[in-house]
Amino acid sequence: MDLSFNEDDVAFQQEVREFLATSLPQDVKERADRGLHPTKEGQVRWQKILNEKGWMAPNWPVEYGGTDWTITQKYIVAHEMGSVAAPQPMAFGVSMVGPVIYTFGNQEQKDKYLPRILNSEDWWCQGYSEPGSGSDLASLQTKAVRDGDHYVVNGQKIWTSYAQHADMIFCLVRTDSSVKAQEGISFLLIDMKTPGITVKPIYGLDKENSLNEVFFEDVRVPIENRIGEENKGWTYAKFLLGNERTGIARVARSKRQIARVREIAGAEKCEEGYLLEDPDFVRKLARLEVDLMALEYTELRYLSMLSNGKKLSAEPSLLKIKGTEIQQRLTSLLVESLGMYGAPYEPERAYEGRNETPVGPDYANGPMAEHLYLRAATIYGGSNEIQRNIVSKMVLGL
């Protein structure tokens, strides 16, 4: 057992710090730090910088462009990026569809898509959920019917994050309705410019457009855009969901949020001093910090087990559950720390053409938007209730 950094680790940490100090664009950092949705342009600009450095896809195998970092190095990068609010690359490409492609795709697919993901030429989105299928993903109804060299896709996806920016969507579609729900699903990669695709914005609790509905009307998708075998899509989807859980704890981001709470509470007056001296506030912050520390070391312990060749069952669901609960408590505390200035709220588009910034102290711009948006954190990617079902079954055998 060992928690220490060796000399190489310390040098690496220095390299990461220098890279971030010199390369992270200020505007990108600021939006991320406030918890606002990224702009497409800013996110892509930053991802291209990361890719130039070779750090776009640390978890990929080296042959496809990964970094071959030790878990200590990954920890260092995650935490250094978190502490300066450097955004992670959008997950849909590099963390979700990328691994599916290099694991189950054919050579052509690998050659075509992986470099474009690394260099952020394609913005990917995820076509999983449908109006009738939330937690019960396998009940999806979007149909793909073979017609010569194409599938003809009809149906609707929903809750599609950033579909309005997307160049590509990876979709679960039903290719066989005569078998059990999970057995008739295929995994397609679809160009968003294909005729018949319509994206309709959903305005969220935060009154911003990050979610969308995506409609498919006789959308023709070449069969070479199918991953793996027809009707085996569920296997690839499950692989992806498992993969999605790594990093879902978002420890580094939450650490930065703790620092933000301290910054704000240290500036907000309260009774005779500052909010940061209020015993109730101090206690809530300490509880969060300790819970976050417990999560951090649990994540590290699991990573250590994996890198020592041990297998995990559904333990990573714990990271999702605890991670999202902490994120929500943090945005709650951020909003609370604003006092009355938690109430003013207008979406970003309301400021278009106005020569004004949001009212109140500068740090009041962000927390409520993120607080509202992050209500989804315990819902998406398998709600926390579903995660507990999974642990109950897989780990506890109940």
Binding site: L205, L211, M340, G342
Partner: protein, 378 residues
């Protein structure tokens, strides 16, 4: 001991519920929130016609002499529809301050106009540094001839956007947190030197930051005795908290109804999600929180009439703390149980969540009132 409504009170309740049912469908409300004004002047007229705007005022000035119980009834029903008209700001808070602290002349000039629906009020008390502390007042009012000169910045004045007159707390003497030396002034919203930054709030309402830069007012603008406003402010803010908690009760009960209904309709894995025991128990906990809040809201409506200020204040903080906890839990879990649907601005449940979120914070959040309760219990 009796928690039942009288026949008259039941009539009032029915009347407000009918108004809400007729005018506050989620779609209708959504439209109103998108208007410049943020509410409907027609509704306001209706409220005046129905006599609601005169509810808490004495019969001498044309009111109905209602107690906090009638206010509770009205606010609870309004909470069901998340009513947007500035009843709380104008009638309970602004009107309450005038009726409680004003001279006979001020009452005569203002209250009948409020009752008629011709005059709207807002109370500017919070400041950047004050958090929830009512006696943390840095806005100054310095004597100048017969009148006063106001200077300062008031934060997040609910309905300060549309009020005709702003009631401002300002310091006429003492240091910034002294209990003595705070005075109230009635200021025209278009007074020289007054500038406003208007904005929307997350609960779909309107508020403003108001800056007073050498705003000159007559001696007649002084509301009540110079330097002795704090007890008046505290009393009226406590009545407002009672009203706000009643609104929260209505909002929670409705959020629960909506969620409960959704759980019966929405199917996953082939069965209604309301069949999953974990979600059932969550819904039971939400129901229990609303029940407990309702009991406390009823209790405080009765206790607000108490002469014993310490006992009354303790009850008020207890209710705000209970309702604050409940509002947070019910609001957040309503979203959770709705899943993705709860995340959309279009669907109604999110608006209950947001209003409950602000109610938790307004006039002191849960922690603030637990602490105040404990201090009053020590």
């Amino acid at each position: 001991m009796d928690f039942e409504l009288s026949d008259e009170q039941n009539l009032l309740k029915d009347s407000v519920e009918r108004f809400v049912k007729d005018n506050y469908s989620p779609e209708a409300r959504a439209k109103l929130t998108e208007t410049e004004l943020g509410f409907s002047r027609d509704h306001w007229k209706t409220m005046a016609e129905l006599g609601w705007l005169g509810l808490p005022f004495s019969e001498e000035v044309g009111g109905f002499g209602g107690t906090a119980v009638e206010t509770m009834i009205m606010m609870e029903s309004m909470g069901r529809g998340l009513v947007l008209e500035p009843f709380l700001s104008t009638v309970i808070l602004g009107g309450g301050l005038v009726a409680e602290g004003g001279s006979a002349e001020q009452i005569e000039n203002i209250i009948p106009e409020v009752i008629e629906g011709n005059l709207m009020l807002a109370f500017a008390y919070a400041e950047k540094q004050s958090r929830f502390n009512l006696n943390d007042v840095e806005t100054s009012a310095s004597k100048s001839g017969d009148g006063y000169i106001l200077n300062g910045h008031k934060a997040v004045v609910y309905h300060g956007t549309t009020a005709d007159k702003i009631i401002v707390s300002a310091r006429t003497s003492g240091a910034s947190k002294d209990k003595d030396g705070i005075s109230l002034f009635i200021v025209d919203n278009n007074a020289q030197g007054l500038s406003r930054r208007d904005y929307a709030t997350i609960d779909g309402q309107r508020a403003a930051d108001i800056v007073f830069e050498n705003v000159a007012v007559d001696a007649s603008a002084l509301l009540g005795q110079e330097g002795a406003a704090l007890p008046v402010i505290e009393k009226i803010v406590e009545r407002t908290i009672g009203a706000l908690c009643a609104e929260a009760v209505g909002a929670m009960e409705t959020a629960n109804d909506i969620t409960n209904e959704y759980m019966k309709q929405r199917k996953q894995f082939g069965i209604p999600i309301g069949k999953f025991q974990v979600l059932q128990h969550r819904m039971v906990d939400m129901f229990m929180e609303a029940e407990q809040s309702k009991s406390m809201s009823d209790m405080v409506a009765m206790k607000l009439e108490l002469e014993d200020a310490a006992e009354r204040s303790k009850a008020v903080s207890a209710v705000k703390a209970q309702v604050g906890q409940a509002a947070k839990f019910v609001g957040e879990q309503s979203i959770q149980l709705h899943g993705g649907m709860g995340m959309t601005d279009e669907y109604s449940i999110g608006h209950y969540f947001k209003r409950l979120t602000t109610i938790e914070m307004l006039f002191g959040n849960t922690d603030y009132h637990f602490k105040r309760f404990a201090a009053l219990s020590a």
